[in-house]
C-alpha cells in the first residue's frame, strides 16, 4: 500500500463525514459538551458498529478490519472537522496501539471488546501537576497474592472517566510497567475534570490498591507509552487537520458573503492573504500527517519522527486557522453562540496535549540524533 488515496479510503472518508454530520452535528456536540464526561454513548456504539471506527487498524483475528493507520487518519480527520465528542483519540489513538504492543493475553482479552464498541480505552501515565515530559510513573504496583494492585493518582487522563479499559503506567520492581485496571471496582475513583476545551473528556483517576493485570512486559511500560504516543499523535494530527480545514472553510465562506465598505471582506488582501496562508499551512500539515499515518502502517522506523513532526505541524496550522477564523469573523466570532470558539479552544488544547510545539521540536532533535 502506498501513499495515494484509494477508492476504498475515499469511500470511508465520505461515509464518515456523512455519518458524523448526521449523528453529531454541532448542535449535538453542544449538548454533549454540557455533560460531565463529554461522552455520547450512542454515538460511540454507532461509530464502532456502523463505521467500524475502532477496529480499522486492528488485525482481523482480533475482530478488526485489518486495515491501517491511513484509514484511522481519514476517520479522525472527519472527527476533528465535526468536533465529534467521544474517546477516539484515547481509544484508537492511545489504547489500541498500546495493547497491540502488549502481551498476548491482554491483547486477546481487551482488544475485541474495544473493537466492537463495548469498551472505551484510556491510557494514564502522568503524575498530577507534572509536565508532559515527566517520566516518573504516577502509580506503583504491588504484589498481591495472585496478582498485582496499583496505588497512586494520575491526571489528566483523556476520557479516563468513561474508560472501560484503563491502562496505567506503574512503578514495578523491574521498572515502569503498564497494567490494565478494571475501573468498576473498589479502589478506583474517577473524577471528571472540566476542560477549557469542553469537547474533550478529561479525568483524574485515583487508584488505591486497585486490582491490575500487566499489559506490557515488566520494565517495558515507558516504551509502550511512547509507542502509544507515536500513534496517538497521528490520530491527533489528523483531528487537527480536519479541524483546521473546518476553520478555513468557515473563514472563506464568511469572507465571501460578509460585506464591509461595499465589498465582501474576502476582496481585501488582508483577509485574502490570511486565508491563503492558512491554506498553505493546512495543506502542509495534511501532507505530513498522511505520511506519518502511512509510516504507522508501513515504515515504523520513521514513525516516531514523522508523527512528532506531524503533531507539531498540524498544531501550528490548526491554531493559526482557528485564531484567524475568530479574527475574520470579527465580533460575532467572539461569541459563545458562534462555533468559532469551539475550534479555537480545541486547537490550543490539542497543541498543548502531550507536550507543546517546542517540546515536540526537542523530541525531533533527539530522534534525528543531533
Amino acid at each position: 500500500m502506498s501513499l495515494e488515496i484509494t477508492a476504498e479510503q475515499e469511500a470511508l472518508r465520505e461515509t464518515s463525514r456523512r455519518f458524523l454530520s448526521e449523528a453529531t452535528p454541532l448542535s449535538r456536540v453542544r449538548e454533549v459538551m454540557a455533560t460531565d464526561t463529554v461522552f455520547d454513548t450512542e454515538l460511540w456504539t454507532r461509530m464502532a458498529t456502523e463505521l467500524g471506527a475502532l477496529g480499522l487498524a486492528v488485525p482481523e483475528e482480533l475482530g478488526g478490519a485489518g486495515l491501517g493507520y491511513p484509514e484511522v487518519s481519514y476517520l479522525a480527520e472527519e472527527a476533528g472537522r465535526a468536533l465529534a465528542p467521544g474517546a477516539l483519540l484515547a481509544t484508537a489513538g492511545l489504547a489500541v496501539p498500546a495493547l497491540m504492543a502488549g502481551n498476548e493475553r491482554a491483547r486477546a482479552r481487551l482488544l475485541p471488546r474495544i473493537v466492537d464498541g463495548a469498551a472505551v480505552g484510556a491510557v494514564a501515565w502522568l503524575d498530577p501537576g507534572a509536565d508532559w515530559s515527566s517520566t516518573s510513573p504516577p502509580t506503583r504496583a504491588a504484589r498481591d497474592g495472585h496478582g498485582w494492585t496499583l496505588t497512586g493518582d494520575t491526571s489528566p487522563v483523556l476520557d479516563g472517566a468513561v474508560a472501560d479499559v484503563l491502562l496505567v503506567l506503574a512503578e514495578h520492581p523491574q521498572g515502569p510497567t503498564v497494567f490494565s485496571v478494571e475501573p468498576d471496582q473498589a479502589g478506583v475513583t474517577r473524577t471528571p475534570l472540566p476542560g477549557l476545551d469542553q469537547t474533550r473528556g478529561l479525568a483524574r483517576v485515583e487508584l488505591d490498591g486497585a486490582a491490575a493485570e500487566p499489559v506490557s512486559a515488566p520494565g517495558a511500560g515507558r516504551a509502550m507509552v511512547t509507542t502509544a504516543l507515536d500513534h496517538a499523535n497521528v490520530v491527533l494530527a489528523s483531528e487537527m487537520v480536519g479541524g483546521a480545514q473546518a476553520c478555513l472553510d468557515m473563514s472563506v465562506e464568511y469572507a465571501k458573503e460578509r460585506e464591509q465598505f461595499g465589498r465582501p471582506i474576502g476582496a481585501f488582501q488582508a483577509v485574502k492573504h490570511k486565508c491563503a496562508e492558512v491554506l498553505v499551512e493546512v495543506e502542509g500539515a495534511r501532507s505530513m500527517t498522511r505520511y506519518a499515518a502511512w509510516c504507522a502502517s508501513h515504515n515504523t522506523a520513521e514513525l516516531p519522527t514523522a508523527s512528532a513532526i506531524a503533531k507539531a505541524t498540524a498544531a501550528e496550522a490548526y491554531f493559526r486557522a482557528a485564531a484567524e477564523n475568530v479574527q475574520i469573523h470579527g465580533g460575532i466570532g467572539f461569541t459563545w453562540e458562534h462555533d468559532a470558539h469551539l475550534y479555537f479552544k480545541r486547537a490550543k488544547t490539542s497543541q498543548m496535549l502531550f507536550g507543546d510545539t517546542g517540546a515536540y521540536r526537542r523530541h525531533v532533535a533527539d530522534l534525528i540524533g543531533i
Binding site: Q327, W336, M352
Partner: protein
C-alpha cells in the same frame, strides 16, 4: 554620562509636581482600606465588592476626582494628560483603584462638552459625574461592524421627540446602564455619512421600559458583558440630540486627547504585574532553568518595556507642551499592546502545561485561561487589527486611502 542620579524621565512642571503631592496627600487621608490592593476592577464586580466600589466612587466624585479631564466649569478639573498620568500613578502607588464613570466620562462627556448647547451641558453633564446617569453604547449594528456608515437604525421626529426603531449590537455595560448613547439615521435620503444623529436615550422612562430591550451576548469566556439591543418605538426628547439633527457623525468622532495620554505611563504596570505572576508560576513548575523558557519570558518582559518606554516618551512630550506621538499613535499603540497580549497569553498557556487544560467548575477560568480567551477580542473591538493597520498606513504614512470606519466601533 554625568552621574548615577536617578532623575525623572518626564519633565514635570512645578505645578505638576505640586499636583502629585496634593493627590498623594489626599490619598493618604482618603484611600479606603477596604479596597486596598483592588487594582484591577472587574467589569462585573461581585455583590460583596460592589458597595465598596460605589462608596469610593462617591467619595471621588465629591472630591472632584471624577471626570478630571473635563473642564472645571463643567465639574471636571481640566487635567492635562500628564496630570491624569500622575493621578493614575498615585492611585496605583496607593494600591486603590482609580474609578471613572466609564463611557459617560470618556466618550459622552467630551461629545457633550464639544458639541452640545449650554442648556444640554448643564442638564446632562452633572448626572454623569454623580453616577446618576450610567451610559452604554449603541453604535455598532449587526451587518455594519467596522463600517459604521452603513447603520440602519431609524429615528423619526415626532413632535418634540425622536422615535427610534432598530437593532444595535455589542452594547457593553448594558447590565448596569440607564442611558444609551447611540447613532441613528434620521435622514434616510442623505449619503451614508450624513443624516445620522447622536442621541442620548433613557432606557426607562417614568419607571417603565422605553422600548429598549437587551439580549445578553455570551462571549467565548462564558461571560455576558455585552448585549444585542432592540429598539422598538424608543423615545428620546429632541433635546437629547447632541450637535444638532443629522450632525451625529462628527459628534461620534469626538475624543478627549488627554485620556490616552493619561494612561500612557501606567499601561505597562498591569502587564508587568501579570508578567511577574507568570514568572512565579513558571518557577513553581521548575521551568526557569530552561534557557528557552527564559528567552520567551525575556521576550515578554522586553515588549512590556517597549510599551513603557513608548508611554514615557509620549508623556515627556506632552509634559514639554507638545502633542506627541503623531497622528496614528493610538493605532500603533493598540496594535502593539493587543498583539503583545495575545502572544503573551498563548505563551503562558504553553508554559503552564497540563494544568492549563482544566478549568474550575462552571467554566470558571483561571487568570491565564481567561486572558488567553479575552485577548482575542482586543484585535477586534475598537476597529479590527486590519482597520488599525489601514489607519496607520493612511494617516501616519500617507499611503493611498481605503474606506474606513469611525473610531470606537466594534466589528
Amino acid at each position: 554620562m554625568t552621574a548615577d542620579t536617578v532623575s525623572s524621565p518626564i519633565p514635570y512642571s512645578d505645578a505638576a509636581l505640586e499636583f502629585r503631592r496634593e493627590i498623594r496627600d489626599w490619598l493618604a487621608r482618603n484611600a479606603p482600606e477596604d479596597l486596598r490592593g483592588v487594582r484591577a476592577v472587574p467589569r462585573m464586580p461581585s455583590p460583596e465588592l460592589k458597595p465598596h466600589l460605589d462608596r469610593w466612587a462617591s467619595t471621588l466624585a465629591e472630591a472632584g476626582l471624577m471626570c478630571v479631564a473635563w473642564p472645571r466649569e463643567y465639574g471636571g478639573r481640566g487635567l492635562s494628560g500628564v496630570e491624569v498620568a500622575i493621578m493614575n500613578e498615585e492611585f496605583d502607588r496607593a494600591g486603590v483603584p482609580r474609578l471613572t464613570r466609564g463611557m459617560g466620562e470618556s466618550l459622552v462627556g467630551p461629545a457633550i462638552i464639544t458639541h452640545a448647547t449650554e442648556e444640554q451641558k448643564q442638564r446632562l453633564l452633572p448626572p454623569i459625574i454623580s453616577g446618576e446617569h450610567d451610559y452604554c453604547q449603541g453604535f455598532s449594528e449587526p451587518g455594519a461592524g467596522s463600517d459604521l456608515a452603513g447603520l440602519r437604525t431609524r429615528g423619526v421626529v415626532d413632535g418634540t421627540e425622536l422615535v427610534i426603531n432598530g437593532q444595535k449590537v455589542w452594547t457593553s455595560g448594558y447590565y448596569k446602564a440607564n442611558m444609551l448613547f447611540c447613532l441613528v439615521r434620521t435622514d434616510p435620503e442623505a449619503p451614508p455619512h450624513k443624516g445620522i444623529s447622536y442621541v442620548l436615550l433613557p432606557i426607562e422612562r417614568d419607571g417603565r421600559s422605553n422600548g429598549v430591550e437587551f439580549r445578553p451576548i455570551t462571549r467565548i469566556n462564558g461571560a455576558a458583558l455585552f448585549a444585542e439591543t432592540f429598539l422598538t418605538d424608543a423615545r428620546a426628547p429632541l433635546d437629547n440630540v447632541i450637535g444638532g439633527l443629522n450632525q451625529g457623525w462628527r459628534v461620534a468622532m469626538t475624543t478627549l486627547g488627554s485620556e490616552r495620554g493619561g494612561s500612557a505611563t501606567t499601561q505597562h504596570v498591569a502587564f508587568e504585574r501579570q508578567f511577574w505572576r507568570l514568572v512565579e508560576k513558571v518557577r513553581e513548575r521548575g521551568l526557569l532553568g530552561d534557557v528557552r523558557v527564559r528567552e520567551q519570558l525575556a521576550w515578554a518582559y522586553s515588549r512590556i518595556q517597549v510599551i513603557r518606554a513608548n508611554g514615557l516618551g509620549l508623556t515627556a512630550e506632552l509634559a514639554a507642551g507638545r502633542s506627541g506621538g503623531g497622528l496614528a499613535n493610538g493605532s500603533t499603540s493598540k496594535i502593539r499592546w493587543s498583539e503583545f497580549q495575545r502572544a503573551m497569553t498563548e505563551m503562558a498557556m504553553d508554559l503552564l502545561g497540563p494544568d492549563a487544560l482544566v478549568t474550575g467548575p462552571d467554566y470558571q477560568l483561571d487568570e491565564w485561561q481567561e486572558e488567553f480567551l479575552v485577548t482575542r477580542s482586543h484585535t477586534i473591538w475598537g476597529g479590527t487589527a486590519e482597520v488599525q493597520r489601514n489607519i496607520v498606513a493612511e494617516r501616519a504614512l500617507g499611503l493611498p486611502k481605503e474606506p474606513r470606519p469611525a473610531k470606537g466601533v466594534t466589528s
